[in-house]
Amino acid sequence: MWPLKWKKREQEYRRERAEFFSAVSLLDRRSFIKVAGMAAGVAAAKTALPPHSFQLVDVVSAAQAQPAFRFAYISDTHLYERQLNERFVKAAMRAVQDVNALNPQPDFVLFGGDLAQLGQVGELDLGKQILSEVKAPIKMMVGEHDWFLDMGDKWKELFGPPNYSFDHKGVHFITLMSVNEKDFWTAKNMTPMQRMLTVAGLDNSAQSRFEVGVEGRNWLKADLAKVPKNRPVVIFSHSPLYKYYEPWNFWTEDADQVQAMLAPFRSVTVIHGHTHQMLTNRIGNIHFHGMLSTAWPWPYAPMGLPKLTVQMDRADPFDEADGTGGGQISVHPGGYVDKHYNLWGRNPVVVSKLYLDSWGKQDAPPAPGFPSY
């Protein structure tokens, strides 16, 4: 009934446990963990928030250089109005607490897009209110869920233009609007809400593919023209800026053209939202890192998954927070980054610059250990 293999595994497991216990006192320097402090009373008055927050973040790998600086992110909150869905609201607030509890504080916090679920005024206003609790400066990025109800009117009113760039500690940051779609709605005579719902459906094939578009590419070209080729570039994009899986729009139609514009630069990192999963890719000089959603995880696509991706375990829906979370990005002095995934309810995972530099040969992060069930 219970195969012999089972018993072997059990014994193996016991041996490993015993080793672990005896090794506790001989802590390896590489697993050095820094403890972050808590932020007292943050937003406690606003809602039924827990009284305090804390976060312990595995930030330093002694084998590698100290990062030049760090920033944190919150992404894909997909807020409905509070009366309809409190779960997503609470998850977004938890992420805000997490970044506020970071010590030292990150230089800034990136919001990775899809603040709202259906781009409605009430949703975007609620999102702005929640994000206003973030202590560090915040950099906003737009997602398709924010855009396609009114084609970005409300979002731009709240947060400004969707394309912008800035320099920070020697790194050139670009926030690129990459979720434009070719007009599929006029011919079908869709209402704005029908258009929004179509785009909001990941597996809804009635929509077009994401693209930066001609206008966006021209803007990017002009922006890049001012940047020396040896200056590290970090791009924030909601869509992945590469081609992963077309049916779900894990896809940027003009990715090849955008990548070609970035090819001359020494160090380019793309931080993207939309895919709600641990996702890693490298194409030539460009490192790609996906962000976690606070609302829910997406499954991995049936094909096209980049080889360098360290997969996260399949989420258990009994735990509403499983497979979601936030994270940090440590920028190295010469460019490129370590990506910290702070998965709520699971152990944190770091996908390092070294891992990508070596095409996955070094510093591989731990895998779930069991096949994804």
């Binding site: 309809l84 990941l202 499954p299 696509a301 258990d316 009994f318 994804s372």
Partner: protein
């Protein structure tokens, strides 16, 4: 006059002789060709009938040859007649029309399931969460792996048990009956998404 006739006859004769000679030449060439082909064991021309199963080898033609129109018409007529004859001998009572009906009805249910899968209100959800939000194209539902152990309820469960678990928990609605038409439609949609995947109970 005579002279004229003579001329015509001569011409005709010439033509006949020429034709004969040409024919001879063609035959020789064709024979040589045939022999050469026979040596290479060329595959003969095979035509398939629109029923998708009946096949016929055409003697003397090889794959890639084009039949002369008359020949093609003849063969087509013969094959149709043969099929009609075969059909009369069939023991099944089901017709192509039957099959069409079955497929259309199933497709209708799959489409209904597709709609429900993307509509939280139709399934009685209360917090704006629909099935497709976590399972685009019914991914990670793995209909072909049921019944299997489900860690949420700590026992082996059917797919419909998990449909109801999701309606009750993430969607915060009320479970629907096992024989609710919506349940059948959802099962049709999820199963159809996995067409061709081997049955493998317990995996995933």
């Amino acid at each position: 006059m005579n002279k004229r006739y003579m001329k015509v006859i001569a011409l005709m004769m010439f033509a006949a002789v020429s034709a004969f000679a040409l024919r001879e030449a063609f035959i020789v060439e064709a024979q040589q060709k045939q022999e050469a082909e026979a040596k290479q064991e060329a595959s003969p021309l095979v035509v398939q009938l629109c029923d998708g199963t009946s096949k016929l080898e055409i003697e003397g033609l090889k794959e890639g040859d084009v039949m002369p129109p008359e020949m093609a018409r003849n063969i087509a007529a013969k094959m149709l007649a043969t099929v009609a004859q075969e059909k009369a001998k069939q023991t099944s009572k089901w017709t192509a029309r039957d099959r069409q009906t079955w497929e259309r009805e199933q497709k209708r249910l799959i489409e209904e399931g597709d709609k429900l899968f993307h509509d939280w209100k139709a399934l009685g959800g209360t917090i704006g969460i629909s099935c497709d939000m976590c399972h685009p194209n019914a991914s990670n539902t793995h209909a072909e792996t049921y019944p299997k152990f489900q860690t949420q309820i700590k026992k082996v469960a059917a797919l419909r048990d998990m449909v109801n678990w999701c309606i009750e928990n993430p969607m915060k609605g009320k479970p629907i009956a096992a024989d609710d038409p919506r349940m059948l439609a959802l099962e049709a949609y999820m199963t159809a998404q996995r067409k061709g995947v081997p049955l493998d109970p317990g995996k995933h």
